[in-house]
Symmetry: C2
Subunit: 385 residues, 2 copies
Amino acid sequence: MLKKYLLAPGPTPVPPEVLLAMAQPIIHHRTPQFEAVFAEVQSGLQRLFQTRQEVLILASSGTGAMEAAVTNTTSPGDRVIVVNGGKFGERWGKIAAAYGLQVTELKVEWGQAVEPDAVARALREHPETRLVLMQASETSTTALHPVEAVARVTRGSEALLVVDGITAVGVLDLPMDALGIDMLITGSQKALMLPPGLAFLALSERAWAAAGASKTPRFYFDLKRERDNQRLHTTAWTPAISLVSGLHVALKMMFDEELANVYARHERLARATRAAAQALGLRLVAPTCPSPATTGIFLPDGVPGKLVGYLRDRVGVTFAGGQDELKGKIVRVAHLGYIGSFDVVTAIASLEMGLAAFGHRVAFGTGVGAAQAVLMEGMPPVAAA
Amino acid sequence: MLKKYLLAPGPTPVPPEVLLAMAQPIIHHRTPQFEAVFAEVQSGLQRLFQTRQEVLILASSGTGAMEAAVTNTTSPGDRVIVVNGGKFGERWGKIAAAYGLQVTELKVEWGQAVEPDAVARALREHPETRLVLMQASETSTTALHPVEAVARVTRGSEALLVVDGITAVGVLDLPMDALGIDMLITGSQKALMLPPGLAFLALSERAWAAAGASKTPRFYFDLKRERDNQRLHTTAWTPAISLVSGLHVALKMMFDEELANVYARHERLARATRAAAQALGLRLVAPTCPSPATTGIFLPDGVPGKLVGYLRDRVGVTFAGGQDELKGKIVRVAHLGYIGSFDVVTAIASLEMGLAAFGHRVAFGTGVGAAQAVLMEGMPPVAAA
């Protein structure tokens, strides 16, 4: 018997309530029934993004929305600044290059956060820059970038700030309008507790103005056409109907929990995981700027990267390993979405046991106990029991 | 967000594979399609019961099969010996009394196992005894009774041995024919990983002979009528079709894991739980004869029984509390059915945190660590990874 635990940074576990909603018989999308659901989902997403702008719903993975953000607000030959501190920062550069943009890359050491001053310097050097492209949470390194500080820089420039919030929206407080983010993006399979298949993005007024002047070719991801349709609570192309039905339930769950509590839970689970790593003498990948979405932990010397495959295939616990330069060196423990205290307990206990299976000396319960001490903050008061 | 963990001794968690099988469109039961499934389930149950006898499938809870065992093999005024070491032993006495039988009760202290000698003495005192009624695993006290030793006594007598194996069949090796059990009973919502709604029982040849002479009234639970129907792979009354479809999958899962491994897993999880209790300085309810199905643990002084409700309603972890004389004094942690190592980890971690929430001094990770040391035995070898 191999009971399965999904603790990777996307896809994340889908709650039974959402699975059941998606298992309902499919409804047609050109109907008042679907439009009513869609309208509720739209206003829920605005609340989640903390924006008065429309949040567009795309049938694509998050990368589709990243491409849409770039192609709808640029013309070939335009300059963009890319914050590249990991796999997803790198992806911004690849998208921009694919559409003939000039890329100024701000290379950030893996596990580090970008310096807002570096963005300011690059903008001074390239005042014609159209977009600053960054991640809020760089999933590959589990580092958190300082969106608020970067937004203070871009707000005073002509450049638009485009934030990949795929592992940030619904994880931490990221108020789009208040911070002055020009485009904010997320995907369904992270904090939104859905299977992959939906992406979401919102544009500020100045981003919509840029969209009006943009010459980069696009069709499926033509955001103005989408906006025209979505204002009527429908979509330009066929929507992923079941996922929208699931989103309806998932958003309700998040609002029932209250967003402040959702953010506090992610922060607490991440802090518990870091406490466990420290108690076990394991190094963090992003010790100075850890993301609350996922915690990257270096494997101790002598423990091979195949620990991750062993835990997944033989023990039933799916973590993510490292990518590129971190391949075989780290384990990434996600706290994203439908994850609670006892998922952290399972994560740390299985990691301790996996390390022991690979010959590493572990005092069982050391990491779990350190995590529990933090997780106690999430235990409800007894008086109310 | 309250993620739910079901760790009570029935109902137990249902695996997704089984849930999906039960969610299939319903088929009609008087069809070759259902009969084919039924026939496979019948032979699977024979394998599970380790018997050449037919295992009858009843649409009832386990108590229905307990009643059937009594009413089909006795006549009013007959004497039965009841081993009463808890709530379920007591139930044997109530069923017998309801049908006008004379009951000799062997009262066993809660948490203790019956002495086989006591059964032998009672049989010598009452040689006319028709049935000896006992539990293999007494769920209310988490004690394990010595079925094999009692069967050695009854095999040499005129009395039939009736074993309530509701939290034993599929948990531990209980070979019906080899031990000489005359009637063996179980239910669907325990080791068989199904929702409640099905009961199973098998009768030895001498039990069937007794059924031929029995005068106690019965209709729904008339086992000869059931046998006549089930020999044709159908049932006397409407079967619980979806549950039978689920059973088909659940049995396959158990055989894929291999029964020896299923038993070893239950034993290991129970032993890990006992190690955790000991490390935490908590007393066991059945220290000398612990069942591998469920572990009863006394709450420490000063911690009220409402800990169980707190963990269930506010933390999401459902244990069972105590019944009758143990009410408010214990917590029962189940290892039954679809339960793995990390369920034990969750059980102990939540118990530690719950105790702390109620003001009990706990060194976090102490119990979990002790459990992990035992659970390591269940980790697959790394070489095969």
